[in-house]
Structures are given as C-alpha cells and as structure tokens.
C-alpha cells in the first residue's frame, strides 16, 4: 500500500489536469487552477524542509567547530535577521512586503546587491570560458563565438557605429538559423517531456518515490 497509494494519487491528479485541459467547462475547467493553487500551498510547506536542512547542516558545523564554522554562523545570523525582520514587518504593517518594513530595507540593501554582483561576477568567468573555447580551435567552437560576437555587436550602439548592417545581421541570425535550431530542440524537448510524463503517470517511472 505504501507504493500503490502514491501511484494512484499521481495517476488521478495527472488525469484531472488532462481532463480539465480537454474540457474547459464547469466543473472541470476550474480544476486546473484549483490544482495549481494547491500545488503552490504544498510547495510552500516544502520550503520548511529545505530551510531545516540548511540550518541543521550549518548548526552541526558550528557545534563541531569544523573549518569555516564562522561563515556558517554568518549564514545563520543572516537567516535569523531576515526571519525576525519579516515577522516584525508582518506585525507592524500586516505584511513583510510592505515597503516601509525593515525586511524590505534589508532586501534592497543586502540581497539585491549580493545577487546582482554575484551574477555580474559571472561576466568575467564567461569571458575566460570564451577564451578557452577559442583555444579549442575547432569549427564548432569558432562558429559559436563568431555568432556570439555578431549578436552582441548587433545589439549595442557601438556595433551600429562600426558597421550599420550589424543589427540586421544579428536580426537575421536570431530569426533564421537560431530559430531553426531552437525549434528543433524544443520539438525534441516536448516529445521527451511527453514521454517521461506518460511514464510517470502510468507508474512505469517510479524513481520519485524512492
């Protein structure tokens, strides 16, 4: 029963979603929206599992004074700071997302710069990756980089100043060869996704239950 009930739940839920899609009238039509809301609620609870795992791992590191435990302490303090300010914001303004709350202040001056700088840092590593790809010196890598350069030049004002046709070339790359490859990939992805989903729905693929 420990396996049969989950398999039945998966099959019935997937069937409801398909029926709801195929019969967009009451009472079936709204079932998809309702299921998606329920999905969000259940996914919300899983957040607790993830946070518990993260905090537990770093608490153990602090307790055992493992290498870098001070950084784990920073992580937990940062976490506590956001949770406490969120609760205070909720009590004072009805929602932590209120622009006047300390939670939003911390979000603006901590998470926003941290996140954008972390991604901005990648621009340097992308440059080094491009350099390494160029060193590979094969036809495919060269083609990739030439396309990347053409697309970039076609999308920035300096490219237009260098050669007025760069934007048109970039446009053509995006509209013709890029579009063709993307279509081929998407058709493959959709067929693969369809096959895997049917396998899961029919209980052939059960790895998610282990």
């Amino acid at each position: 029963m420990r396996r049969e009930i989950p398999l039945a739940i998966t099959f019935i839920t997937a069937l409801i979603m398909i029926v709801s899609f195929c019969i967009p009238h009451a009472p079936f039509g709204s079932m998809q929206d309702v299921s998606l809301k329920w999905y969000s609620i259940i996914a919300g609870f899983t957040m607790l599992l993830g946070v518990d795992s993260l905090i537990h791992m770093h608490s153990v590191k602090i307790k055992r004074k493992k290498e870098g435990w001070v950084y784990s302490l920073v992580l937990i303090l940062g976490f506590a700071l956001f949770v406490i300010s969120g609760i205070i914001g909720g009590i004072r303004f009805g929602s932590a997302m209120d622009i006047r709350s300390s939670f939003m202040y911390l979000y603006t001056y901590m998470i926003v710069p941290l996140q954008s700088t972390m991604f901005a840092l990648l621009s340097f590593f992308i440059a080094s990756a491009a350099y390494r790809a160029f060193r590979a010196r094969n036809m495919d890598a060269t083609l990739l980089l030439i396309t990347a350069v053409l697309v970039m030049l076609g999308r920035v004002p300096v490219g237009y100043q260098m050669w007025h046709s760069f934007p048109a070339v970039a446009e053509w790359i995006m509209a013709v060869p890029q579009m063709a490859a993307k279509r081929g990939i998407l058709i493959g992805v959709s067929l693969g996704s369809l096959a895997v989903s049917l396998r899961i729905m029919l209980g052939i693929e059960r790895s998610y239950l282990s």
Partner: protein
C-alpha cells in the same frame, strides 16, 4: 534619520558588492563572508516570502475569513510532507510528492503538446513559393529544424546521409548556442554596468 538609514544601506551594499568582486583576485574571507550571508539571507527571504505571498493569502486567509474548508486538503498534504522529519512515518510524505508530481505530469503532458509541440511544428510549416529572400530564409529554417532533429535522433547510426544531416544540425545548434551565449554575456555585462554605476554614482558620486 531617514537619510541616515539610506546612507547606511548604501555603504552596506557597497561593502557587499566589493566583497563579492574581491573573488576576482582570489578566494578570500571577505568573499566567503558575503557568499554565506547571501545564502542565509536568501533562505530567510524565501521563507518569509512564501508565508506572506503563498501560505497566508492562499491558505490561512481563505480558511479563517471565508471558511473554505476544502483547502484543508492541500494543508493536509503540506503537513504530511513534513513527516520526513520522523523516519517512522516518513513514507507518508510520498503522498504529497505523488500529488505534486501528478500535477506536474498532467501539466507537462498538456503543456508540452499545446505550448511546445504544436506551435513549433506549426511555425515550421511555412510557405515556400516564389524565389525571393523570404523563401530562402523559410527554406533555411525548414532544413535547420530537420537537421537539428536528426542530430538528436539516435535510433539510426549517424553515417552517410543521416550523418551529413546531423553534422549540419550541429552547425545550426552551435549558431543557436552562440546567440544564447551572446545574450548571456550581454545580460551579465549589463549587471556589471549596474554595479559599477552603483559604486561610482550612488556610493562615490564620480559619475553624474
């Protein structure tokens, strides 16, 4: 007082920005500090975000104010998801997983047909009449789609005509990856410009 908090916030953001950029030199305690702070604060943010934008408006408020008792069903599934904390009854969490997987599966089946497969095939069935630039482009698209699909078709060995078509497919794929790469680089550089602008305009006003 308001000004004080803004100035403090800007200095804090500037310190964290520089701490992350310090990784360009090498891995160092400032970077590790900022990195761990990022993970911790993001986890805290997501927890509060989920409560105030998902659990409260979708579950607590409808039950407490509108008495929508039907919502006790997803609440039950949500709670039994937490049985993973108790090994003896951890198997119950499979019910919640099964429910979410079922929804994902149902959506994937309908979504992949309606949202991906049909529109992409429809977009490939394009006119090939007359001898002009548009026809040539359409022909290139059709050839490209077939060649790309051939590259991912592994039931037949890539030799002879199939091999040549697959080779053409990889050429198309490389162009597509190159375009995506170009866009990614541009997005990252635009973020970098944003951070530089913050440092040299908001923090140290060198740029007007």
């Amino acid at each position: 007082m308001h000004n004080f908090w803004v100035i403090l916030g800007v200095w804090m953001a500037a310190f964290l920005t520089l701490a992350i950029f310090s990784f360009l030199y090498k891995d160092n305690p400032f970077y590790k500090f900022a990195e761990h702070l990022y993970v911790g604060t993001s986890a805290g943010y997501m927890l509060i975000y989920t409560y105030f934008l998902v659990i409260k408006p979708m579950l607590i408020d409808p039950i407490s104010q509108e008495h929508q008792w039907i919502l006790l069903i997803p609440a039950f599934f949500g709670v039994i998801m937490l049985t993973r904390w108790f090994p003896k009854i951890a198997w119950l969490s499979r019910w919640s997983i099964a429910f979410t997987v079922g929804i994902g599966t149902g959506l994937a089946i309908t979504g992949s047909i309606q949202g991906l497969l049909v529109p992409q095939i429809k977009g490939t069935l394009i006119a090939l009449h007359g001898w002009n630039g548009a026809t040539l482009n359409n022909l290139l698209i059709i050839i490209g789609v077939i060649a790309t699909l051939t590259y991912f078709y592994f039931s037949k060995e890539h030799r002879g005509f199939v091999g040549k078509t697959a080779k053409l497919g990889i050429t198309y794929i490389m162009i597509a990856f190159g375009a995506s790469f170009g866009y990614t680089v541009m997005a990252r550089i635009s973020l970098l410009i944003g951070r530089m602008y913050f440092l040299f305009h908001t923090w140290i006003p060198l740029i007007k």
